[in-house]
Symmetry: C2
Subunit: 455 residues, 2 copies
């Protein structure tokens, strides 16, 4: 069947939810990773309901057409980029909050709602959903779940997997499954909900989610900014905070190149040459005492420390960290890496980054969610394509992270950009097992082909 015939079938079933405008198709080729798929997809289906998703997938199965599920397109690994011959299935318009049950700390939502929009609504009930990716203002809950996008708060408040009780999933053949539960506990059968978290569109289409909520944390948020003469001192200090047993809500590290780029973007005074910064927030009823203890610890380690007890000022200070991605964009095309290591290995990982910088003659501005050991080294280059030297340097970084007991990706996912390293981390036997599990869900291989598992 030709592409035109497939689009005709989609139009017959879904009418004006099928979009073939050149601008829309072009946009669906790329995400925020800088990577774009080759070629152009057939059409975008803007699903408004579960039945639209089912209709699309039935046609895809009948015609053997690949389907790329897409939310807001804010991914950083190319996982939702669609190319030649593919149907883009957008669930962005499925953005309702179906239910909020404060007494059970549960919400049921559609996948297209933005993380920030959900949390704005939940705040009215004194509640929040913990996953807090840096993209929360522009990324969807469904996308957060599909990639396992963690964010700044994971060490204290858990990862996405901990915050999802159930998902509704449409399989490749159009059948709807309700996975998981809405109870605190439940061990009936295999945990397919967790299998869907981070599955990057390869197993099914998430059309609903039952979320585990938290009550808003009482007390003031305190913010600590500590400047160190170099990145290794900052990394060691963050490891010392973790080892002290005080659990900050947020602990972000910016190296010298990152800090300089953000200061330039925001029109701030240039930081001292080589200086690296920790930005730490404590929350909860003991936040003031905890912030003072952390500040004392950091001063003892040679940091230049300031503490703010004002929430607005705290947000302004954290905004410096949140400006990292825009700051990099001013420098060129950015490949944002995402390795994660055990927290005690953070200083060693920064040593490895310095070694790779020297070996390849690159500057690799790096920020880290230092509280949980997740680093984002940024490779900046000109033009749309990642130069070979960058991939070689990234390869060195990945192998270093694995040697230190770490992982390829802490929260961005594998997508297309890391698929060639997947078997290095999983081992061949596990890689093959995972592919077979995908085949159980998607025997025709039409769900996001070429992503994650492609060899």
């Amino acid at each position: 069947m030709t592409g035109d015939e497939i689009v005709t079938r989609l139009r017959a079933a879904l009418g004006d939810r099928v979009d073939t405008s050149p601008a829309s198709l072009a946009a669906a080729r790329a995400d925020k990773s800088g990577h774009a798929a080759s070629g152009t997809p057939l059409a975008i289906v803007h699903a408004a309901a579960v039945s639209d998703v089912q209709a699309t997938l039935r046609i895809a199965t009948e015609t053997g057409t690949p389907v790329v599920t897409r939310g807001a397109g804010t991914g950083l690994a190319g996982g939702a980029n669609a190319g030649d011959g593919e149907i883009v299935l957008s669930v962005r318009a499925m953005d309702r909050i179906v239910e909020v049950e404060p007494d059970d700390l549960v919400a049921v939502v559609e996948p297209g709602i933005l993380n920030a929009a959900l949390n704005a609504e939940l705040a009215q009930h004194g509640l929040w959903w913990a996953p807090d990716p840096a993209s929360r203002a522009i990324s969807t809950v469904g996308g957060n779940i599909a990639t396992g996008a963690g964010g700044l708060l994971c060490a204290k408040y858990g990862v996405v997997r901990d915050a999802v009780l159930g998902v509704d999933v449409v399989l490749a053949d159009g059948r709807l499954l309700r996975l998981g539960r809405r109870t605190v506990k439940g061990v009936t059968g295999l945990d397919l909900t967790s299998l869907m978290v981070g599955s990057e569109g390869t197993l099914g289409v998430i059309v609903g989610a039952t979320l585990k909520l938290r009550r808003l944390v009482p007390g003031d948020v305190c913010t600590i900014v500590a400047v160190f003469p170099g990145v290794r001192a900052a990394a060691s200090a963050s490891a010392a905070v973790t080892a002290s047993g005080i659990q900050p809500a947020v602990m972000e590290l910016m190296d010298a190149a990152s800090l300089a780029a953000v200061h330039a973007l925001l029109g701030m005074h240039a930081p001292q040459a080589g200086a690296a910064q920790l930005t730490i927030q404590t929350d909860g009823p003991l936040s003031t005492a905890e912030s003072e203890m952390i500040a004392g610890l950091l001063r003892g380690l040679g940091g230049s420390v300031a503490v703010s007890h004002d929430a607005d000022e705290g947000e302004r200070l954290l905004a410096i960290r949140r400006a990292m991605h825009p700051a990099m964009e001013t420098l060129g095309t950015t490949l944002i890496e995402d390795v994660s290591v055990p927290r005690s290995a953070l200083p060693a990982m920064f040593d490895e980054i310095a070694r790779v910088e020297r070996a390849f003659g690159l500057v690799i501005p790096t920020v880290a969610h230092a509280g949980d050991g997740n680093l984002h080294p940024n490779f900046v280059f000109d033009g749309p394509d990642v130069p070979p030297v960058v991939w070689e340097a990234a390869d060195e970084l990945f192998r270093a992270a694995l040697r230190l007991g770490g992982t390829l990706t802490g929260e961005h996912g594998v997508g297309v950009l890391k698929r060639r390293w997947l078997a290095d981390e999983l081992g061949d036997d596990q890689w093959e097992l995972q592919r077979r599990i995908k085949s159980v869900f998607d025997p025709l291989g039409i769900l996001n082909p070429g992503k994650v598992f492609a060899s």
Copy 2:
């Protein structure tokens, strides 16, 4: 191949780790559920190392022999009971703590270590592993993971899935896979670690686990005991505590029949007729203030309330709850059910239990982890076999729990005792999908056949 020939092959490979003593074989037929497998297994392999597990599974695959993995045999759903023609693979002797890394809040353990033994060791480092099943003194960490055994602390400190970062697994064919990670975050590929949690020996044999630890909670534990005139009032009061936003560490409910049985066992004064009891513990730096707030709330709801700030007295008060299982054993054979409902539905679930009691002319002593909505209705009867009327009543309870948005099993697993209801909760499509996933791990169907997925 005959059973004798299979045992001969096991002996040739594993020597005196192969046990065919009648007493051992008889013990391996049963767990703590009251259920025993029909017939007698071929042999027990007492694995001392991963290589023993691999050797056993290679022989099982080559000879097509079923394998039942077993830890301490404390399960409550018959999931580790072995019968005719089966090899019992005991990992109880693999009980080493391989590594404790306090700075990363990680421990690596073998599966046979007892939960309490692990936590005694971790306490030396100021750490603990949160899963806290009532059986923790006698149950293994591997068994806790294989069943998803939650316990008393789940509402505040999470379920087993939240506390396991990775597992080492031997597949049916003897290959060793290392699943998961040791970092806080990690989304490389599908989350097979979570798939193993609660898989009840059907996918592979867990031979090692990387556990996510917590630091010991500072501050005093406060214990609140509140007696109410009836179980519905107690259930409503527990729901009110949850809705208040104060998060106790423990909130246990005992109905009148449970309370009376335990008081009799422990030689205490008989409780007032019909009285039900909540036992609540708060912990952390604010535990005293929280306990006073909860006590005030419960008094306002008609409870007769006592508060203790003494840790030892608190343990004695909680021991009343922990004596439930022995108390039931004095009355006859016990089938302990395990439904879980959304917390707000707890009073309604107690209404359903009362309805079932009247309809079937039974007394169903029930305790509940009221803080998380997990109820354990106990059916007590004479003799080894569950009478049909009990299964009919249990069937009614399961359906009521599902109607209330709940689940068949909160923490005991499906095993053999709940397999006939599995498809009722999962739906036929999901049930079939789960069976196919099992087949990917275990194509010959030799791992714990007849458990969980048997039709």
